[in-house]
């Protein structure tokens, strides 16, 4: 298994060929599943260490779960996309390729875990930790993509197939990740829930955030005069919520001044 792990990291081209040629696919799939469970699990534990306590356990379970659930939903779609884009291969090959790519990504996440841990331990802020974790995910995604692209062969339709697969993966992983929140957990929270209460979907959140970024809110904010002081005195809000609220109030003041 360690040989295959080394191969996943060092030789993405050889791994992609192995996925397509059929020999040793089962061993590769098993190794990839172990890599996903272990790599994403450790990274999840580090992400959960921002809040500590039970969040470490929850996040270490939820990150691999989110990745595997995404693959379970996406793999049939990947296979149909490959067939539709004139890249015939067996379902076994598609599964092996998707899992090997995800396995490589999870191993890169594992490698980046100490970096995130160090940042959190050094007192990185909530949003800073989120950004750093997202950057780690981005790097892992690129590592996974290198296996996927090599497995899609050559020709003009390779990029189309890759783009379609990425769009599908991002949409499904976004929603899966959204359902399984929270991962970091906020320090001010008294209780640590395994799952946060449902608040719409991932697409709704992206849409709402986009509108909020433009200063467009559904609910009118409370009058500026009646709001409590901007710092220190709002006991029921944690600091991250306070920052969001402060930003919001500043934007509203600017709009009124105009």
């Amino acid at each position: 298994m360690m040989t295959l792990v080394g191969r996943l990291l060092r030789a993405p081209g050889a791994v992609a060929r192995q996925c397509l040629e059929g020999e040793g696919q089962r061993e590769l799939v098993t190794t990839s599943l172990v890599a996903i469970a272990f790599g994403a699990g450790i990274f999840g534990a580090v992400v959960g260490s921002f809040r500590g306590d039970l969040q470490v356990l929850y996040a270490s379970l939820k990150l691999p779960l989110a990745l595997l659930a995404t693959l379970v939903v996406c793999v049939p779609g990947f296979h149909v996309l490959a067939l539709a884009l004139d890249q015939p291969r067996t379902l076994r090959a598609t599964i092996s390729l998707a899992l090997a790519a995800a396995g490589r990504g999870a191993l890169v996440l594992l490698a980046l875990s100490p970096l995130l841990w160090l940042a959190i331990d050094a007192g990185a802020s909530y949003h800073g930790s989120v950004l750093l974790a997202s950057a780690c995910y981005g790097v892992a995604g690129l590592a996974a993509l290198s296996v996927l692209l090599r497995g899609l062969g050559t020709g003009g339709r390779r990029l189309m197939s890759a783009a379609a697969s990425i769009v599908l993966f991002l949409a499904v992983s976004g929603q899966t990740g959204w359902i399984l929140r929270p991962y970091l957990g906020r320090p001010a929270q008294q209780e640590i829930p395994f799952l946060r209460a449902r608040e719409g979907g991932f697409a709704d959140a992206v849409w709402t955030s986009g509108r909020s970024a433009r200063g467009d809110y559904d609910e009118p904010p409370a009058p500026i005069e009646s709001t409590p002081p901007l710092s220190g005195a709002v006991d029921d809000l944690n600091w991250a919520d306070r920052i969001e609220r402060d930003d919001h109030l500043k934007r509203m003041s600017q709009r009124r001044a105009q």
Binding site: E21, G24, V29, V75
Partner: protein
């Protein structure tokens, strides 16, 4: 259907898949139990890998090649029927059809044989490459490296031969089908046979290509793969 219903259905499918995997592993044991257990949550990705085997790929390839050979044979006979009794029959005589069918059958049989051979573990391309890389990293002797390189070259050439045979058969099938429709059109519309002549020429080139692939010499002499002088060229010990 609620999320709970969906999860129950998913779990039921997982259980069915787990039972199938456990029963398929006739000897049972711990390995079968673990494989079945993994299938319950992950059956969409684990089931197809465990319940099918690489032999499926081989069977699929065999079916693909044989299908092309059958397409060629069928289209040739239909083309022959379309040309019979007309001036077009000179373009495609019955003897020529027999010759093409015979060449296609020979090529298809060879491709089938190669497919079966290349499905064996010793002919795996990825393993051969990995072995060469391992030897390179481990500082193996030039002779050992040359042997591994020779093995890789041979396996690569065998795979290339198989792929080329398969491509040629598929290309030929397309051409022969185009020839058939052209002949049918020419017969019923009374059109010119100029286009037919081009296709026939192209088709013969492909058939000749099938023959050339079988006659072509393959293989690299061992001495070309190593920096060491050949045994016959080495200075004898005085």
């Amino acid at each position: 259907m609620s999320l709970v219903d969906l999860l129950v259905l998913y779990g039921a499918m997982g259980l069915a898949c787990a039972v199938a995997i456990y029963r398929r592993r006739g000897t049972g044991g711990r390995g079968a139990f673990v494989a079945a257990l993994i299938a319950i949550p992950l059956w969409p990705v684990w089931g197809p890998v465990v319940l099918t085997s690489p032999r499926e790929d081989l069977r699929r390839r065999l079916r693909g090649g044989t299908r092309a050979a059958r397409r060629i044979e069928l289209a040739l006979h239909e083309a022959l029927e379309a040309a019979r009794g007309s001036q077009l029959s000179a373009l495609l005589p019955a003897e020529a059809v027999s010759r093409i069918v015979s060449a296609v059958e020979t090529s298809d049989a060879r491709r089938t044989e190669l497919d079966v051979l290349l499905a064996r573990p010793g002919f795996d391309l990825a393993s051969a490459r990995e072995r060469l890389e391992e030897l390179g990293r481990g500082g193996a002797t030039p002779r050992a490296m040359a042997t591994a390189r020779l093995h890789l070259t041979n396996v690569t050439q065998l795979h290339a031969m198989r792929d080329r045979d398969e491509r040629t058969l598929v290309d030929l099938a397309e051409l022969v089908e185009a020839l058939r429709t052209q002949l049918v059109l020419a017969r019923f519309a009374g059109s010119s046979v100029e286009g037919v002549g081009d296709i026939v020429t192209d088709m013969w080139a492909r058939v000749e290509g099938l023959g050339e692939a079988m006659d072509e010499p393959f293989g690299t002499p061992m001495d070309e793969l190593t920096d060491e002088p050949a045994l016959s060229e080495r200075p004898s010990a005085a």
